[in-house]
């Protein structure tokens, strides 16, 4: 890793933000929700009745877990929106890459008239 927090760049700002960050109780609650969501994910693939909606349900649960970690553990919910911006813009492109490659390789060939 080429990044190391600087010495003279102290954390005055981070310290000033500290009170805005959630406390231990919130962190524990999020951990509990994450555990429940993971259990739900594993349960979904084992319940035959849910087979038809398995993919969307799993995707929703995954996005929920992803968002919880990013918003609470990585503090994006509480921090400056600049951090959200420099992360979410590339993240959107990454999701776009995944979706468009799946479309191009898996979905569109089925609709090819010749």
């Amino acid at each position: 890793m080429s990044f190391e927090p600087g010495r003279a760049e102290t954390t005055k700002v981070a310290a000033a933000e500290e009170h805005a960050h959630p406390g231990t109780r919130t962190y524990l609650r999020i951990a509990l929700i994450l555990t429940v969501l993971t259990a739900a994910e594993v349960a979904v693939i084992h319940i035959p009745a849910l087979e038809a909606v398995m993919v969307p349900v799993l995707l929703v649960l995954t996005v929920a877990k992803f968002s919880l970690v990013v918003m609470y553990y990585m503090h994006l919910k509480f921090d400056s929106r600049i951090f959200t911006g420099v992360f979410v813009a590339p993240l959107t492109l990454a999701v776009g890459v995944i979706i468009s490659l799946i479309l191009l390789f898996k979905v569109l060939p089925k609709y090819n008239p010749w």
Partner: protein, 196 residues
């Protein structure tokens, strides 16, 4: 926000720590890296000409366990940051080590999984599944490895009393890295293991 800038001896336009902006940008960049790896796995899903295929080798209980361990390591990481910010030296030492230790358990599970796959005949060269699976999860594992080394360095600093509240940003940035590796795994767990 200008008051924060004024409090600092040097001027910044946003009052935000420069390292944190840079590191979030780096995480954004990493998203594209893992995005392409995941895309490749998804595109090649179901295209292997010979086995073993995913259902032949995956053990959902084991992977669920390692996923849970990695999630809990993220909890320990935020506790470590809290402890460092409060100047709680014992807490810092305990939680930093705990995070690294949970990361090591995750890597141990992965090593076990890889060895097991190897013994049932799945290698990098076997088929498209083997190539795309090992390279995707291998790069993720390498990221976990880097994170563990990083956390252990911070842990040694904490042991020596060199990690006070003034160093919280260092821990926060290590934490951002660690959580990012965790969220990548959240995506991999669903897209690779659960959606077979």
């Amino acid at each position: 926000m200008s008051h924060a800038a004024a409090a600092d001896a040097h001027h910044t336009s946003t009052g935000l720590p420069t390292w944190k902006i840079g590191f979030w940008t780096f995480i954004g960049s990493e998203s594209l890296f893992f995005g392409t790896l995941i895309s490749t796995y998804m595109v090649y899903k179901g295209r292997s000409l010979v086995g073993p295929y995913p259902p032949d080798v995956f053990s959902i209980p084991l992977t669920t366990l390692s996923t849970f361990v990695l999630l809990m390591s993220s909890l320990l990481m935020v506790l470590a940051l809290n402890a460092v910010q409060r100047g709680d030296r014992r807490g810092s030492i305990l939680w930093l080590f705990g995070t690294a230790f949970f990361g090591a358990i995750f890597l141990g599970c992965q090593a076990y999984e890889f060895t097991h796959f190897y013994h049932v005949g799945l290698t990098l060269q076997t088929n498209l599944f083997g190539s795309s699976f090992f390279i995707l999860t291998g790069f993720h594992g390498a990221h976990v490895m880097v994170g563990i080394v990083w956390l252990l360095i911070l842990w040694v600093m904490a042991l020596r009393g060199q990690l006070g509240p003034q160093d919280a940003l260092k821990v926060e940035i290590a934490g951002l890295y660690w959580h990012f590796v965790d969220v990548v795994w959240i995506a991999i767990f669903t897209l690779v293991y659960l959606l077979q």
